[in-house]
Amino acid sequence: MVIIKIFCVLCILALNFSIPVQAETQSMQDEHHHHNMTLDSSGLVMNSNDNTLPQDCDKLSRDYNIKVYAGTKYAADYPGTVFGMDQHEYQVEPCSRITVTFVNEDEVRHQWMIHGLPRYLYPGGMFHLEAAGGHSQTGTFIVPSDNKTYLVHCDMSQHMEKGMKAQLKVGKGSGDLWAIPGVSKGFIQDIYIPEEIWIYLMMVSIAGVVITTLLISSKRS
């Protein structure tokens, strides 16, 4: 467990250090990706793949049908979040085919986006469902054979931070990600203390001094 945590820290650090290197010129090009994509006013499905096996799979192990519900009401069970999904962890077998139906019960867009898939099959390494408010989207992807934990999230600004984060474990997975509601705590954690904490701390410290002094003087006499 500790090793996994250290690994996560290193990952985050690596991610952080890579950010300032991004050149301004690069950023303008990045807006023109070419993905396998269908887009209409109900949302989009990107990089859906229901027949091409990853290189390391001989055959499909099995099929999964996952129905995911998203919306603010699914945040109710997790204090400190606003956006939610009904499930935050998915467990599948290696080389399996997963069909996800993403049902958005809010009136704003939401996404079910998975990262880290092999780039030769999924441009950018991702599979992405995006449902406009009140709509649902369905798409399929096939996972490779290795034990790995994949990040699933909504990439709209602050939606992952405020609750829409999940993980997909293939096989045994590769540990838990940080800040998955119901699974793991945040790496940066809020501190919940009363506003008058300094008064309390001071009072306890004074009490410590008084008690110790009394004890020592009573022993002397």
Partner: protein, 556 residues
């Protein structure tokens, strides 16, 4: 016994170490009379300048966004700045995102329902049913995974205050890609300028994609207090409607009868939400035949497809939005991730009556970034329409170098020609709009000729980034013959590279370090004086210890 000697020794050392500079003046004069002037010792050397990494002032336009081009039958004008709007988005806003090809939508990043344009009701060749969908985006917000902000947006090198903005409805990720934390270019401050035509049937849907409640209030725009169904339509949570909750949406309806430069903003806890960036220009254009408007102008600035009425009288049009920022407010969204703690910090613990502004933006950027994208470019003998709103908490005294401008409209209402004032400092109070006619006739009044003429708030704090100048809302009126091919002005003054470093605005770089062979550079400290001061501190410590020791000994 040795303690007594040690005590005298420490007094002696303390006296010797005590710097001459701290002696009383009378004593110094007396010493000077007895001993004469002090001997010369050279002050410390100049500090060698730190190696600072510089951003590229004017990044290359790899996708040819600056060029004049026709997209989906829309003539998108050449935009002369270094960084300009995505012309595909401009064309989609003109034609309607429901009326352009998949290819153009993909290149613009917009959803098909971002700006829907419907029927031509008056038969004059342009659509009169307009449906705009806006989301709420947080820039530079906090995260439970890292202490770096998410969906990053810098107003100047190294300066990234937290913002909330209305944004056009776009598909896909909020960042440029999975590896980057930078917000994609259309997610930015300020909220987009909205343009509709007089008499259009306008629907604006707020899809509240943010974790806090918001509304939209249409300031100065002709709109009914309630819509046809009796639903609140004024955006004010205490009088007309409940706030739009996270994940919910509301559609506002209007058919503006009067034209003019107006304003829109969130009206939930407005002293916080307006200052966080939930505000934009709202322009009602005069009705003309075949008047296809650029419904959204992302980031305000140059209008690449101006309306028919504007092109009748003006050669170019610019939207200018000013906003000042109290960093103590804006950075609160980065300090915790729990919305309950954030809202407590922002709406109860923050006290705007104690606020002071640290940063001053024009179209969402401060100098030097303003020079990349907010230059007002012109030629001689032109008329430029400047639509200006002051979205900030204090007034601005907008000064045009080299020009006297004429205010034609105040708060969207035309001033009678006899009442128009031509001047070079225009006062714009909070939420006020002024339309300026910038005339570039070289007559010594309207213009003094070609050049790079600054355009800035003359309240001096407004030309700084947290007290470091040049910064703030400084931009310029630049004549084309003073503009390089890449859009950067042919400046003849100081090297701009220094301003494109975060270190300069962290106050780490001397203002004139590169002038006059380092005569104004940073200074090394005086090592000898440091040793003396350390000696003084040590001997004082010894003295105190001896005094305490002495008192203890005398106790029975």
């Amino acid at each position: 016994m040795y303690t007594r000697w040690l005590f005298f020794l420490s007094i002696l050392v303390a006296l010797m170490c005590f710097p001459l500079q701290w002696y009383p003046m009378a004593l110094r004069l007396q010493l000077g009379q007895w001993l004469g002037a002090d001997e010369y010792r050279a002050p410390p050397m100049a500090k060698i300048a730190a190696d600072t990494t510089t951003e590229l002032p004017c990044p290359e336009d790899l996708l040819n966004w600056r060029d004049a081009q026709t997209i989906a039958g829309v003539d998108v004008r050449h935009s002369p700045g270094c960084i300009v709007d995505n012309p595909n988005a401009v064309a989609a806003f003109v034609r309607g995102t429901n009326n352009v090809s998949q290819q153009i939508l993909m290149a613009s990043g917009l959803t098909p329902d971002a700006v829907e344009k419907g029927r031509d009701l008056d038969g004059d060749g342009d659509p009169d049913e307009i449906h705009i969908r806006l989301e709420v985006v947080e820039l530079n917000g906090g995260s439970p995974e890292s202490d770096l902000p998410t969906t990053q947006y810098a107003i100047a090198p190294g300066i990234s205050p937290g913002f909330w903005v209305f944004a056009p409805k776009m598909f896909g990720m909020a960042t440029e890609n999975f590896e980057s934390s930078k917000a994609r270019s259309m997610l930015r401050l300020p909220s987009p300028a909205i343009r509709v035509e007089q008499g259009d049937i306008v629907k604006i849907t707020l899809e509240n994609s943010h974790y806090m409640p918001h509304t939209i209030h249409f300031h100065g725009v002709d709109h009914p207090f309630v819509d046809e169904d009796g639903e609140g339509n004024d955006g004010v949570p205490v009088t007309s409607e409940k706030p739009v909750l996270p994940g919910s949406s509301r559609t506002y309806n209007m058919q503006p009868r009067q034209s003019g430069t107006m304003f829109y903003h969130c009206h939930v806890q407005p002293h916080v939400h307006i200052m966080m960036g939930l505000q934009g220009l709202f322009v009602v254009e005069e009705n003309r035949p075949n008047n296809w408007l650029q419904t959204l102008n992302v980031g305000a600035g140059h209008v690449r497809v101006p309306s028919v009425a504007v092109t009748e009288k003006f050669d170019r049009e610019y939207d200018l939005q000013y906003l000042d920022i109290d960093i103590d407010l804006n950075n609160r969204i980065q300090k915790s991730n729990d919305p309950r703690l954030i809202t407590r910090d922002m709406h109860r613990r923050y006290d705007i009556t104690d606020a002071k502004s640290d940063f001053f933006t024009l179209n969402g950027r401060s100098f030097p970034y303003t020079f990349r994208e907010s230059l007002v470019v012109t030629k001689p003998d032109e008329h430029i329409k400047l639509r200006i709103v002051n979205g900030g908490s204090t007034g601005i005294a907008l000064h045009t170098h080299g020009h006297k401008v004429t205010a034609t409209h105040y708060d969207g209402v035309e001033a009678k020609p006899a009442a128009r004032i031509t001047r070079d400092v225009v006062w714009i109070a909070s939420a006020q709009r002024v339309d300026l006619d910038l005339e570039t006739t070289n007559d010594g009044l309207h213009s003094y000729g070609s050049g790079i003429w600054l355009l800035h708030d003359h309240q001096e704090k407004g030309v700084t980034n947290d007290g470091i100048g040049p910064g703030g809302n400084v931009s310029a009126i630049v004549y084309e013959n003073y503009l390089q091919e890449n859009g950067w002005p042919k400046t003849q003054g100081m090297d701009f590279n220094k301003f494109f470093t975060a270190a300069y605005y962290r106050k780490e770089v001397p203002v004139w370090g590169d002038l006059l062979n380092g005569k104004f550079s940073d200074v090394e400290f005086d090592l000898w004086m440091l040793i003396r001061l350390l000696g003084l501190g040590l001997s004082l410590g010894v003295m105190v210890a001896l005094v305490i020791n002495g008192i203890n000994k005398r106790r029975p």
